[in-house]
Amino acid sequence: MDIFDFSEGREGYYGDFGGVFLPEILHGTIEELLQCFRDCKNDPNFWTEYESMLKSYSGRPTPITYLENLSKHLGGAQIYVKRDDLNHTGSHKVNNVIGQGLLCKRLGKKRVIAETGAGQHGFATATMAAKFGFDCRIYMGAVDVARQRPNVFWMENLGAEVISVTDGQQTLKDAVNECMRDWVTNMADTHYILGTACGPHPFPEMVSWFQSIIGKEARKQMLEQTGRLPDKVYACVGGGSNAMGIFQGFMDDERVELIGCEAGGKGIGSYMHSARLAYDDAKVGVAQGYKTYFLQNEDGNMSETHSVAAGLDYIGINPIFSHLWEQGKVRFEAATDEEVKEALKLVMKTEGLIPALETTHGFVTAIKEAPSLSKDKIILINQSGRGDKDIFTIADALDDSKWKSFITGKARDYDLEKN
């Protein structure tokens, strides 16, 4: 089944989801992008160049690690992890960003813009822009700027201009809106590097295509390392790019179950979460250029969302998943903030891995389900990113008192310097 094999007149649609809902002024730009993307997709040299750049710059292929200790500890299925945390910049975001960078070069554009929530995508984009020599502007909600200063610091030092967005909830979705605004103003020389498999066509398809490198590698590696395919594949789902990335490797394998793990935040019924499919609170709508399940009220205004992981804290989900979910091809579960903290601690101590908070949502569900599977079952988790850049968030989440006194000490030093 090729989900990107659109039927006549349904280009960009996955069942009822997807499409292009953009101001008329962007029509030409998005057409140009679509055309260029089609050219890239049909040009085998493009993929070769893409792979080779990821290899030499980002260290792909990333390995698969067998978690012997965690598997034993849980006493059920054998757990494997795809290590996209080992990428340059620390997450799978770089796959998409390098792909779009190459495409931007083809488009002949010299400036890139991007939204970012946690900062991972902005960090990856700023890095890519430095490498490609593009001008770069990153839009980031003011709330995220405040809580993700380390990423802002790096983006700025990589030469990007970081704009703090003070509209709306001042988080990811508002940064997306600002990107749209910049784009309709500067589309002649600017490419919008959307960070996840959301937004108007061809973004969901394009981002999924670039991320499919994860699944391609993973399928091959699992066969090499275990002699067979995994029984279940878990990935966290914000917009859905890392999950689409790994799932695509197993889409045609009927017996591999695919499980997307959303941000359950403060739990079901709390209305403080970002679970679009795992919980029952979202409905279909149109925003930010595409149609999908959104967390919104009866008027169609978007709800406040919440997650301990900024990168999952988003109103919508990639339209491909809305379709695959309705088709029963992908199961969706949610992990709460509390569950995430516990799982993170467990994984650090048993395996020496530090998954990003986003990523840890995938671990939670796998850890819940592994014990009831027999020992000859194999499950695979996508480690989309590393958590060591999230120290402020993780230390806060774990309420680490030594960290807090370190910070207050630092602050005292800075105050003294000033005087």
């Binding site: 809902f21 008329e24 997306v176 309709v184 930010q288 169609g300």
Partner: protein, 256 residues
Amino acid sequence: MGIKTFIEQKLDYKDILVMGHVVCGYPSFDDNISALEIMEDCGVDLVELQFPFSEPSADGPLFVKANEMSIKSGTTVDKCFDFMSKVTSQFSFKVLMMGYFNTVFQMGEREFLQRLKFSGGDGYIIPDLPIEEAVNLHSMSKEFDLDPIILMTQTTSEERLKKLGRSCSGMVYAVARKGVTGSKTIMDDSIESLINRCRKYTDVPLGVGFGISNRADLDFLRGKADVAIIGTAALKAWEDSKQAGYRQFFESLQLS
């Protein structure tokens, strides 16, 4: 009387019409009424009533804030329609709904058109709804005799202008420059050539919007366009000095 006829009739004795804009419920519905009264006093011909949306991605900062504040203060779609009924019964403007597609989508397209009609509206402008996605809505609109206002832009290709032209109804909205609402547009040859390009593909009246901000802009458009669409400039006047500033702004346009 449809929008097209309305504009054409007025053009018999006016050389250019003006369309104004309010964001429903911002700063309040009462303030909206004051604004509309001033516009009516000063000779504005049509108004867009913007239904606030949480993700107004085609709007500039001033309108973004207006959308946000309005929702925060409790504006709902129901209240917007009620307000539209009041406006259409109390004023002589032609009234268009302006908003984002999710508002329509959530209530259902038919229900939306019914309520729009029932509230006395004459058409709608939905900037994030391209014609490809609007086939149903547009054809249903004919049943209700409502005009979907199509936008044409400087970046639109000839081929696409032709296609858009075929969907036009009521009037066409020519977007004077790239970008979102909000900043000043320099009136120059490029605007004239945009107008000429649009005219080639449709015979409905032509409005020009985005960044029209003073009497000189109107003078420039006179004889070229049929309607000047004024948004941010007026809202800015309100923000600066409320009713007084608003009245002064519209008076300075010297509409007849």
